[in-house]
């Protein structure tokens, strides 16, 4: 079984539209949306939920006013400035609390409870392109890395049970915790980039992260014709580093139009775009099989 994740370092490079198109081309894959903070793939795939699970992670401190003696030790010890004195006594600001357990452990009268925290929901769904595993983290929650890991594990399990060859994931943006979790155990990362100054900058950072995880990098240049000089700079960088460029996709309003219709780019019948994506897909499959 192979695992491919589509990432971009930065949001907005067209990662989800590309994943949607690949999902259409894959006939033996489990699909997965690992962007648990701002998932968008479901907008293209209109999943029907088959299984809905609550995601609990970490704990949150709550001060019981009856037991609290107002000694102030918790406020003094909290490194995250999550505890402040209010008119009603000492209170924990849930937005700032990291669930570190320090106040709970040190509170002399043990007035602080520490229930586990409901952070989001995850789903297994049916789509017209096959099974999809996805989630939505509640706003402001951390631990998205843990949720990403959970989704990946579930997708892998499903793939094994159902005999699928590939787990195809829409990755998380950035280079922090969620992306790190999405790269673990991944064979190939398709980095979607744009021919802009920031595009190259972001590509370099995310590719370095992939290398650190021994994940193979392939590059897809989206909106290739927007700035040919920058596109060339990206190509040169890729050549120097040995990252294959699997597709040069033009700036095309059809991408937005397909999105508005809730469709994958290659479902709307634009033959040039479809051909380019098909070629990208087979380039990618070749890379995957070469790496075996």
């Amino acid at each position: 079984m192979h695992e491919v994740v589509i990432i971009s370092g930065k949001g907005g490079a067209g990662k989800t539209s590309i994943t949607g198109a690949f999902a259409n081309l894959a006939d033996n894959a489990i699909l997965c949306d690992l962007d648990v903070d701002a998932p968008d793939l479901h907008l293209l795939l209109s999943p029907e939920h088959k299984r809905i699970e609550e995601f609990y992670s970490g704990n949150e401190a709550i001060i019981n006013q009856e037991q609290c003696t107002k000694c102030g030790l918790c406020e003094a010890m909290c490194r995250f400035s999550a505890i402040t004195q209010t008119d009603e006594g000492f209170a924990v600001d849930p937005m700032r609390c990291e669930g570190c357990n320090v106040c709970v452990s040190f509170c002399p009268p043990q007035a602080i409870s520490f229930p586990s925290k409901h952070c989001g929901t995850w789903y297994e769904s049916e789509t017209r392109f096959g099974t999809m595993v996805h989630a939505q983290l509640f706003p402001g929650e951390e631990n998205s890395g843990r949720l990403v890991t959970l989704l990946k594990q579930h997708a892998r399990k499903r793939a094994e049970e159902e005999g699928h060859e590939l787990v195809l994931s829409d990755g998380a943006p950035g280079i922090g915790c969620p992306v790190i979790s999405s790269l673990a155990g991944t064979n190939l990362a398709v980095v979607v980039t744009e021919p802009t100054l920031s595009g190259l900058h972001d590509l370099k950072r995310v590719a370095k992260l992939c290398t650190g995880f021994k994940t193979k990098v392939a590059v897809l240049i989206n909106k290739h014709d927007l700035n040919l000089a920058q596109a060339k700079a990206i190509e040169e960088y890729c050549q120097e580093k040995g990252y294959p460029v699997i597709c040069r996709f033009p700036h095309d309003n059809a991408v937005t139009e397909a999105m508005v219709q809730g469709k994958a780019i290659n479902e709307t019948g634009d033959s040039t775009a479809s051909q380019l994506l098909e070629a990208a897909w087979s380039n990618m499959l070749n890379l995957l099989h070469d790496s075996k």
Binding site: G9, K10, G11, G12, A13, T16, D37, A38, D40, L43, G58, N59, M77, R79, F80, M95, E98, G99, C100, N101, V102, S105, F106, L137, P139, G140, E141, E142, S144, G145, P173, G174, I175, G176, C177, I180, E194, P195, T196, L197, S198, G199, H201, D202, R205, K208, L209, G212, K223, L226, N227, Q230, H251, N253, T256, M259, V260, G262
Partner: protein
């Protein structure tokens, strides 16, 4: 005043909006790039006289000779950053959130404050304004501690206004960035992805209770659902930036749109006025 430019998702034009605002704002101003995972603001503002400092977080240093293996530290730690395996004390500094609990609880004083590098804080000058950015170390998973250090060091009150280019998304890094702001500008696009992420951002940021307005970037592409949503939720639309290939090209070359395309100037002037007015209305209320 602190103004945060945020978006439910990356790629909506948050950085170019921040750069454009910084270019027309009255000095002194401090422009801050808190998108520490992928800082891009410097590519547009091109700061000079850059000084780079390292940022650290406190993690425990262990002295195994003193440890008796009582496990008080590992029982306290919620992040699996410290554990006792058999007789050996193991620390995993990458997992540590720097809460300091293990150091405080160890009865043998076997743990002392050490440090892990989070990344860099770069300061510089850009057209008479202060410029600050954070850059997360590649492989570092946690961005909020680095962001908090930058926020704590901000020259608030004395140095005029602060414009923050916030990280995308609505999870803890984004919340960390907007929490201290007096006003939040949400940049979005009139597409289904744009609306979906904008709605999440609105849900996440509304409870903070700060004045909030929208900038609709690439107006003219997609559909009208974002406008309907703003009307329904009473979110003022402070600016609309039309979709125009020349804006995209200016961006791709690292030019600040408001400078490259003079016709955008009134749009950003009026955005700035709306932001300042929204903050003043709150402070005089």
């Amino acid at each position: 005043m602190i103004y945060a430019i945020a978006s439910g998702k990356g790629g909506t034009g948050k950085t170019t909006v921040t750069a454009s605002l910084a270019s027309i704002w009255e000095t002194p101003l401090t422009a801050v790039d808190l998108d520490v995972e992928e800082p891009n603001l410097h590519l547009f503002l091109k700061p000079e006289e850059m000084i780079t400092g390292k940022a650290h977080i406190e993690v425990p240093d262990a002295d195994e000779d003193k440890c008796t293996g009582c496990r008080a530290c590992s029982e306290l730690c919620q992040f699996k950053a410290i554990t006792v395996m058999g007789d050996t004390l193991l620390t995993f500094p990458e997992m540590c959130h720097g809460c300091g609990g293990c150091i405080a609880i160890c009865p043998e004083k076997a743990l002392t404050p050490g440090k892990r590098e989070l990344g860099e804080i770069v300061t510089g000058k850009s057209h008479g304004n202060e410029f600050i950015m954070g850059r997360l170390r590649i492989g570092e998973a946690m961005s909020p501690p680095l962001m908090k250090q930058i926020l704590n060091d901000l020259p608030i009150n004395s140095q005029g206004d602060v414009l923050i280019d916030a990280p995308p998304g609505v999870s803890c890094p984004a919340i960390t960035a907007v929490m201290r702001a007096d006003c939040i500008v949400l940049v979005t696009e009139p597409t289904p992805f744009g609306l979906h992420d904008f709605r999440l951002a609105w849900e996440a940021f509304s409870p903070i209770g700060k004045p909030m307005g929208a900038v609709i970037n690439r107006a003219g592409v997609g559909n009208n659902d974002v406008y309907d949503f703003c009307r329904e939720k009473d979110i003022p639309i402070w600016a609309e930036i039309p979709f125009d290939r020349s804006v995209a090209e200016a961006y791709s070359n690292g030019y600040v749109p408001v400078k490259a395309i003079p016709t955008l100037k009134p749009t950003f002037e009026s955005l700035k006025n709306s932001m300042q007015k929204a903050v003043n209305e709150v402070s005089h209320a």
